[in-house]
Assembly symmetry: C2
DNA sequence: TATTGTTATACTCTATAACTATA
DNA sequence: TATAGTTATAGAGTATAACAATA
């Protein structure tokens, strides 16, 4: 029996195996990009689009980074014309960020490309395994947000 | 229906959802460490232990980074006394790396700690969900290595 | 006084290109 | 000439601490 499978039999071993797998796949996904936007920027941009518009702080919480990190990421997106900034309607301290038209266009194109890489590999899996990953994705998301 | 669940119904949407989930969990796991070793170093150390000993190039391939990155990581591990370096028995160009006793000790302790964080969250899941993740882990690993 | 965001600073991770040593 | 590893260099991502503006 391979060492990894043996490890994964116990719950703590499973956590370890899962952690390594997640880190490696994350690294691989970072490499799979083509536009001038990085994986981090694309992830933030996608989150903004999914929510319509967000403040810096809320966006940072969703992406699980500290506010200064998000300020920087949004700055990069702004420089590239991918998002727009606006004053919060009632709270002058807050900043509301939305995806620009250019951002929407790039997001669609880039996501199609990145997804194509992963989707291609996933097509090589059995339908059962794909279904398994379909159900696993929200669980991983839940663990990240726990 | 939530936007994410709607997205995940299609295969390309699933890839996108999975990519975001994996990146966020990876980010979270990076934060969950206690020793002076980083997540990257721990991952490499664990891989060395799993294989007994490895050359720099092979280790880099396993971890899916370029050789110079691995040279640096191994250098850090060496500085901290976590690994030992030895000349390859027959090929003078290659370098063989193994985990030291200190490395074994730290790896066990740290992995227990990191796993405890993830395992705790996983205990909050249903047995069915845990089983799902148990089966998903090798699939994620496979995708990373594809 | 508390909260939101920014600036300043530093460290880790990673990559590419160029170099050294060995095969 | 080809391969394994290292060094040099650069850029992205992230964090903490200190600061400014607003509530």
């Amino acid at each position: 029996m391979p060492s990894k499978a043996r490890l994964a039999r116990t719950d703590s071993g499973l956590a370890s195996t899962l952690a390594v797998s997640v880190m490696r796949l994350s690294r691989r996904l970072r490499q799979e990009r083509d536009s001038d936007l990085t994986a981090t920027q694309l992830s933030a941009l996608g989150t903004i689009r999914r929510h319509g518009s967000l403040t810096i702080g809320t966006l940072a919480a969703y992406e699980r980074v500290q506010p200064p990190s998000m300020t920087r990421t949004v700055s990069c997106l702004l420089d590239r014309g991918m998002v727009t900034r606006a004053a919060h309607p009632t709270d002058g301290r807050q900043v509301v960020v939305s995806v620009s038209d250019e951002g929407l266009t790039l997001l669609d194109a880039e996501r199609r490309r990145r997804d194509a890489w992963l989707a291609k590999r996933m097509r090589e899996l059995s339908p059962a395994d794909r279904e398994l990953l379909r159900r696993a994705a929200p669980l991983l998301e839940g663990l990240a947000n726990a």
